[in-house]
Subunit: 239 residues, 2 copies
Amino acid sequence: MTQDRNRGVDDPARLRGIVRDIPQATVARLPVYLRALHELAERRVGTVASQVLARAAGVSPAKLRKDLSCLGSYGTRGVGYDVATLAEQIARQLGLTQDWPVVIVGVGKLGQALANYAGFADRGFRVVGLLDADPARVGQIVAGSVVRPATELERVVAEHGVCIGVLATPAGSAQRMCDRLVAAGVSSILNFAPVVLSVPDGVDVRKVDLSLELQILAFHEQRKDAVRRAAGVLGAMRA
Amino acid sequence: MTQDRNRGVDDPARLRGIVRDIPQATVARLPVYLRALHELAERRVGTVASQVLARAAGVSPAKLRKDLSCLGSYGTRGVGYDVATLAEQIARQLGLTQDWPVVIVGVGKLGQALANYAGFADRGFRVVGLLDADPARVGQIVAGSVVRPATELERVVAEHGVCIGVLATPAGSAQRMCDRLVAAGVSSILNFAPVVLSVPDGVDVRKVDLSLELQILAFHEQRKDAVRRAAGVLGAMRA
DNA sequence: CGGCCTTTGTGAAGGAAGGCACAAAGCGAG
DNA sequence: CTCGCTTTGTGCCTTCCTTCACAAAGGCCG
């Protein structure tokens, strides 16, 4: 108690929860922790030690603790973290306590998968518009919403105050649609099209490249192959 | 010529092309460079300076040059890089000069999008099996192939010597299917299911989390919001 | 052939992230 | 109340990545 009262407003642990100085790498892991915490909560787990949570999230306990310490001091020494409290704090930091209206531009197979993806709705992302330039797709019902023509992009964005857009168009039209999203007021874009988008300052773009990851796997697989071959040759020489 | 002959086998620039000591961060960017190079090649560009290529790939020229220097010395000072040569070297390093048979497990909307994705075939990834546990999906034609029952997983993997598997199942069955892939001999897995997979040593897993990226965007968006609000308050105070 | 201009390749410095190890802090038993 | 056990939070060190700045190297022109 005495110590607590001695903790001034400039106490590092407290301040860290207010000012935002969270490393990029940590931000990228918070959603993983959040998912693990939700799973624990479903299993009626009340508190969890860093070791257990770290295993569930696929990271080392030290990294987990350091990450969580960026949010403030929400653990109890000798016990662990309260699952519900920690989940709420992470959600708050990530901005998931509010609803985010989102438009999806491009409703091919990928766009449909995204529109149906439960992980979006669970985290407060509400799809308020499905847009496609292809007349054949306009009017179709996807994930309970009707696909609207791309011409309505500006109207949908303005109507719902959308600031996050998802691009799932072919490569050819991605930059054009991106420009229109930005002009309409969108300031964060999740890009699934295989192009490098150029956007003005102040707009965040994150890219998900389906084939990039596969190419990285191929690199490592080839390496393993080479090692196996080398081992084989050495084995033959030894024999 | 004289200099070239003086370059021994342990010349650093040469060796780097042989021994593999490429930083992870660099490996992750090579596919981006490769895509940019292919685009340049299509536009009949013969040589490209680091500055231009860097802009096309969305990185800084210095980073690009350092990355490329890991592969060896394939640029010409005062001129730039030969587009075709460089593309070939990158493809070789990534292991894209060979064909990689791939199975896709889970043929929902996402699995279908992946099966149809041109970026796979272009890079030497050949989908040799579409597998799904849902009888309603088995027998459907997706991307020119018939969807086969999940029970045939082991047979397909063995038949084609598959070592890369793509998981696009619901969260619930991902670990089970992962275990079967590994048992059947797959040693690299691209996981789209929102779970942390556990695999034995020697197996590589890469995870693509569709909602993770959106959550990171929300974090930054919230920050921008906070800054805007703070600026607004300050502005009001000044007035 | 020689000088100039362009562009690469890379050492060195700066910064971010990861891992170790331990002190501080809480809980529960005695 | 005290002791001992458990687990967090964090300072320090190491490693990896990025950026800067410049020497070395090649082409081009006179």
